[in-house]
Amino acid sequence: MIKEKRQILIFTLFALIVLLAPLFLKGSYFLNVLVFIGINTLLAVALNLLLGYAGQISLGHAAFFGLGAYVSGILTTRFPVDPWMALLAAALCAALLAFVIGFPILKLKGHYLAMATLGFGIIMYIFFNETVDLTGGPSGLSGIPNLRLGQLIFDNDRNNYYLVWVITLGVMLLSINLSQSRIGRALRAINDSEVAARVMGVNARILKVQIFTISAFVSAIAGSLYAHTMTFISPTSFGFNFSVELLTMIIIGGLGSMYGSFLGAAILTMLPEFLRVFRDFDIVIYGLMLILITMFMPKGLIGGLEALFKIVINKIKGGAQNVKR
């Protein structure tokens, strides 16, 4: 019960900081970066539901992101579909695809699942590239309309910031709720020992497909948001590299933690900007960081921060006791 109250407090604080941040930020550049961080956080949260909770890897999640972006983009540029309806259609489309491929591929475990999802990601990437009539091929799809709510058009960084972050915060909250529930426990049980979970009556097969479907649904929403805020999309954003980047985000941030997803997304979104001064060596620093974090912080940055926090608290408590003596 105390744990639950603390969780609500932490989420409220996080949400307040996120929602009030634009008031203190001058200039559009930061807001623009923060919009990207929001979209990447949403994607990281989606992947974390699958890998962090249920322990099922996906090396093809960029494909669902891309599918969301393309369905939304194609429906709004080639057909007179309302952007919101396109967003919904994109999410449902990805969910349906995930549901259909989920049954066969989620029977696979470990490396085999990694290979199958990798293959799926590459197939989708080729599809985005080659169906030129539909997707515009390598030169991309432009002129995607912005989302709008009545008079409010999401065409500038400040509006986009709120659009993306309200949705991301909502999904984060739902994910946190899920982890502390019957279904969240069942997913974590599958992660720890699928056999024991099944013996306890958890239908692992169905549950894995469900969470995969939801993960794809959320990834496609992120894709649609990306398409409508950028107004231009091309296949390079949805390739294998980005799938790996998403994986890196949640491993650096912390598997199973929604705040870790944010931390990982924030770092990996901003890092290229900071590392620009190192020119070609940025990839070396990037790799080094990943090695160090996985070696010394197996639970990611959020796990490292928690451990640090506990040490500090204990030090303060210990100090107080010494004073009493």
Partner: protein, 250 residues
């Protein structure tokens, strides 16, 4: 209660079990013993739906459960523990038991994500029931510890608490005393009787003969995949074929 009929299991060219049949009476404690490689764990894996037998049938009461999946069997009240203790290591002791209550609750993904009122109520009863099972096995003080940090003996107890949370009709224990010291084994014998008092049928695979002879009312002996004998502990102790299998023939 539980009966197996003509179970045969062939792995590649190896016959692990050959035409094994026996039945277990309701509310009894049955021991399955036999030298290493006799096929005891294989038999458990078949009964609990983890392996698919080459031939033969399994009945729970009148129901043919031969090819049921483990998750279906849990819903029917058949549950097991594992030889190597399969806990959910990253989860707390309490949460482990709460997973055991999975079949006793029904909130879906959406009511869980949106924290609908029904789900909140259900969560509360699940938590209370889980605490009661921890009291039953004496693990309440460890409720908030991560399961992977429990000492081995207590891990065993947690596995039993978790299985009990399923509210089974029958519980299969695979070597529950392996790795326990003599004091813990005595506690286990007491716990097994307590479970029987709740009206639950117990089947256990065990190497600790003292425990088997102490708690079991009926014993099935397997050797090299075949049923060698079935009887009361006294009958088994005097059975020539069993003695020969264990001590070697003259």
């Amino acid at each position: 209660m539980l009966s197996v009929e003509g179970i045969t299991q062939i792995f590649g060219g190896l016959t692990a079990l050959e035409d094994v049949s026996f039945s277990v009476t309701p509310r009894s404690i049955t021991g399955i013993i036999g030298p290493n490689g006799a096929g005891k764990t294989t038999l458990f894996n078949i009964v609990t739906g983890l392996y698919t037998q080459t031939e033969g049938k399994v009945y729970l009461g009148e129901k043919n459960i031969s090819f049921f999946a483990p998750e279906t069997l849990a819903g029917l009240g058949l549950v097991r523990t594992f030889q190597n203790v399969e806990l959910f290591g990253q989860m707390s002791v309490l949460e482990n038991v709460m997973v055991g209550l999975h079949t006793k609750s029904k909130s879906g993904i959406f009511s869980c994500a949106f924290k609908l009122p029904g789900q909140i109520r259900e969560e509360k009863t699940v938590r209370e029931k889980a605490y009661r099972w921890l009291e039953f096995t004496g693990l309440v003080d460890e409720a908030d510890i991560a399961a992977c940090n429990l000492p081995f003996g207590k891990g065993r107890l947690l596995e039993i608490s978790r299985a009990m949370a399923v509210e089974p009709q029958i519980i299969l224990m695979d070597e529950p005393a392996a790795g326990l010291n003599s004091r813990e084994t005595a506690g286990l014998a007491e716990l097994i009787r307590k479970i029987q008092d709740l009206g639950i049928t117990i089947v256990l695979v065990e190497h600790d003969m003292e425990l088997v002879m102490d708690v079991c009312e009926s014993i099935v002996v397997l050797n090299l995949g075949k049923k060698l004998a079935h009887g009361t502990p006294r009958e088994i102790q005097e059975d020539k074929a069993v003695i020969a299998a264990y001590l070697g023939e003259d």
